[in-house]
Amino acid sequence: MHEPLDPSKKQDQRKSPTGRDFNLVGKPFRRVDGRAKVTGQTRFADDLSFPRMVHMKLVRSTVPHARIVDIDLSEAEKMPGVLGFLTGESMPNPFGILPVSQDEHALCVDKVRFVGDPVVAVAALTEEQAYEASLAVKVEYESLETIATVEEAVATPEPRIHDYGDEGNLHKKLSMQFGDTDAGFEEADEIFEDVMYFEGNTHLPMEQHATVALTEEVDRVTVYSSTQTPHYLHRSLTKVLELPASRIRVIACPNGGGFGGKSDPFNHEVCAAKMALKLGRPVKISLSREEVFYCHRGRHPVLMKIRTGVKKDGTLTSQHLQTALDGGAYGSYGVASTYYTGALQTVTYNLPKYRFDSIRAFTNKAPCGPKRGHGTPQPRFAFEVHLDKIAHSLGLDPAEMRMQQLVPADSVTSNWLKVGSMGLGKCIEAVVEGSGWKERHGNLPEGHGLGLACGSYLSGAGLPIYWNHMPQSGVQLQLDRSGGVALFCGETEIGQGSDSVVAAITAEVLGIDLKDIRLCVADTDLTPVDLGSYSSRVTLMAGNAALQAAERARDLVAKGAAKKLEVPANELVFAEGRVFHGENPEVGMTWQEAVIEAESRFGTLGTTGSYIPPRSPGRYRGAGVGPSPAYSYSAAVVETRVDPETGVYRVEHVWMAHDVGQCINPAMVMGQIEGSVYMGLGEAMMEEQVYRRLPKKRSNALVHKHPSMLEYKSPTFADMPGVTSYIIEDPDPNGPFGAKEVGQGPLLPMMPAVANSIFDAVGVRVDQVPIAPHMIRQAIEARDKGKEARFGPKKFPEVDFGTPLRVPTPEEGGDGKAINIEEAGVREGTGTMTERKDAVKGGE
């Protein structure tokens, strides 16, 4: 009934591993948006145009840190086609994605903080005219001292880039201790310590951000945008435009790739709305690729120190992790990112005692934020390489050692995260078997190696970004006598297939064809709120909301049909477009007839479904980051060939196993696995968002080294190795049909697995990514000179983390709360992103 994969061929009707026989779930089907995407019919934001539409450009700062002395529009005003300007004072209210970091302005007020910070918006009849006028705008700056790195930020508390933050130029500083880590280190036979570095990189979505705004009334504006988070954009617009939320409509167009890069509310979105209200005409802005590099919000560069106590048999007794994040010029998701560089260390291997310290610094560079894996790939890289070294030093097999340490299913970790299903063991077994690990690891000839690493990720964050008691996802279904079902949901299609997931779950429950479902998504006027397409939340959260709405619709229709068929409603089966008696399938009617019965009996038909995640057991400040209804797991083995003469290497094959709980559509799951392998390889081998200082006499600017797609290296068709992917299905009770996430998890093991494979190949360590051939060469040269066979950072900055917040572990009989709030100088509450008390009062 659903679109067969190949109409001319019979596909095998595989049952789910749980033995359940689904209509649709778990079988490959064509995505609901598949046809539109191959015919050019999908309308991305820049594909939209409206009568009388005009174009906008932003004048961006050419200096990294300065006071704005003067803005001179006189030349620009005279340019042909120019219609209007906006500057900072017209939008004084600050905004930002997190309630604790409302530190952005639609256009800079007083100060610019990085090259690329927008100062003026110009609208003109054509895009070219707007561009030319933007060049004629003159901004006079008075330069301020710039900060380029975490070390500089630590050493330079004044002048501050922002007038808020934990201290000086440190946006965030935290220290948390779960259990008696000192006692844990004392139990250890050996203590290992490493310093590692993960360079920043960016999402590089193929689609450049674009927004179109139009007005219908003096006080009513509609914004179409390439955003992953229409709901948060809606909130920011309300704040900056000072209009009631009910007068602002945000429609997220399908995104031409997001990867986290379109999850912040952006200056250009706010300015387009403001300009449309000013001019009374539709306004479009489409960013250049260079601007996309400066919008960034990508992977934070993170320096890490990791210290672990281990018994001879590989048992981990204690860990102390320190991370230092280079946040760039604004808060963005940074406070959450900071916590994420520590939170998920505990969900893969037993870590009975754990301490985590972290700082996030403001620097005068494009703001960092969430990229696929948000804050977790960096410490995962450090941990997995560190474990590889530990195993090597103890003479243990790295795979075997991990297998011995797995966190049990249905347990609570030392930092109070509740783990449900846990398929990591099966993942490791699959890649170990598949790659011939046991025979080949450690035994391949010089220059040829295998590396193994694992990872885990959230299926959505346990807490919303701002405190509230409302659902994180909602779905509304509308059924009528046509037999068609209209599905309304706030979720946003960013390429990951979320439209298909909510449609398939609904079709599964109602037993109808996907083509009989009409989707209306990501429209704040029409669809129930969904928090957005980030933190791999949509399949689980919007999926559960769809499941609930569909089950309610099924019950309603069953009641109508049961009366007519004279059988009990609960014995009716919904499949293949029919509603029939389970034991006697002849007794039945078509789906459409059943809906008609229900509509006749109950009137107009509609149901809703909502999802709120279960409460997590942690009750300490910081416990808000890390909880998830379900964790996905992945393991990878990477096979690499390295030329020891040059350091040039090539990843030849990847074995990736991912525990997705339950596939909704295996073809789409495969796409996410392969896409994650690809993006992880890019991060391991080449991708970096790096800056250089221009000479002092030329403004001392910190400019992006290569804001172009040619020089920002990313893997091409020719760079992709073979990939053997194993889908592990360990259904989670919290997932719809047991489904967990797949969009981000499989990226995590890639970077450490590549680093570990290089060690297996040539016996040297590169403790940072991306790994360039010269780093391998330098490590080999160091070894040949009798020095440490390693390339990587040497030390972690000196930071006084003060007294950590102490939280006894479940094992120690803790209750999830901290015991020294006063001493640690930490405020109460679980929210890291907001204070519950403030929220209840209604403050942001």
């Binding site: 689609e207 068709f717 889908i727």
Partner: protein, 191 residues
């Protein structure tokens, strides 16, 4: 210079008869405008996308006289008398081209933004070389970036479409591309 050419504002306007997807379009635009701009903004053929407008990403690829060309680098004024094909020209009536069919079924289009450029490039390849090897496909597409798929499904989609176009109806895409590889216990190792 075309006699119809004239000055408008600062930019010289030109008028050209462009042949796009087999249909003639009389079009006026500034002389320096790229084919990309004219297709999207004058002809409203927004199926052709852009990722850089600098010739770096391949997203804007269209066919000119059957050859893949980066439309962001091509002056529209020079395209008169040439056969331009965009993704909108690939369907046959209401039926998808075999490449479109294969991409949709395998999930070779995720966000779908790189897809139009890749589809037309693959079309040109298969018209010249109906049975390309993996390496030949890879080198034909080496200039097209995709951030979503990891490229494998695109390659498998092109191979599947090539088989269909050759009339080889027994060909099926590798099952692993859809279901993942059989677990080692179930179907042997792939080492």
């Amino acid at each position: 210079m075309d006699s119809q050419d004239q000055k408008a504002g600062e930019h010289q306007q030109v008028f050209r008869l462009l042949n796009v997807n087999g249909e003639p379009h009389q079009t006026g635009f500034s002389v320096h405008h790229s084919l990309l701009e004219v297709l999207r903004e004058q002809l409203n053929l927004t199926g052709t996308k852009h990722g850089c407008e600098l010739g770096e990403c391949g997203t804007c690829t269209v066919l000119i006289d059957g050859q893949p060309v980066l439309s962001c680098l091509e002056l529209a004024a020079e395209c008169e008398g040439r056969e331009i094909t965009t993704v909108e020209g690939m369907m046959n009536g209401n039926d998808l081209h075999p490449l479109q069919e294969a991409f949709a079924d395998l999930g070779a289009a995720q966000c779908g933004y790189c897809t139009p450029g890749i589809l037309v490039t693959a079309k040109a390849l298969l018209e010249e070389n109906p049975e390309p090897t993996r390496d030949e496909i890879v080198s034909a597409l080496a200039g097209n970036l995709c951030r979503c798929t990891g490229y494998h499904k695109i390659l498998e989609g092109i191979e599947w479409a090539a088989a269909k176009m050759r009339g080889d109806n027994d060909y099926t895409p590798p099952k692993e591309a859809i279901y993942g590889d059989p677990l080692p216990g179930e179907g042997g190792s792939h080492a």
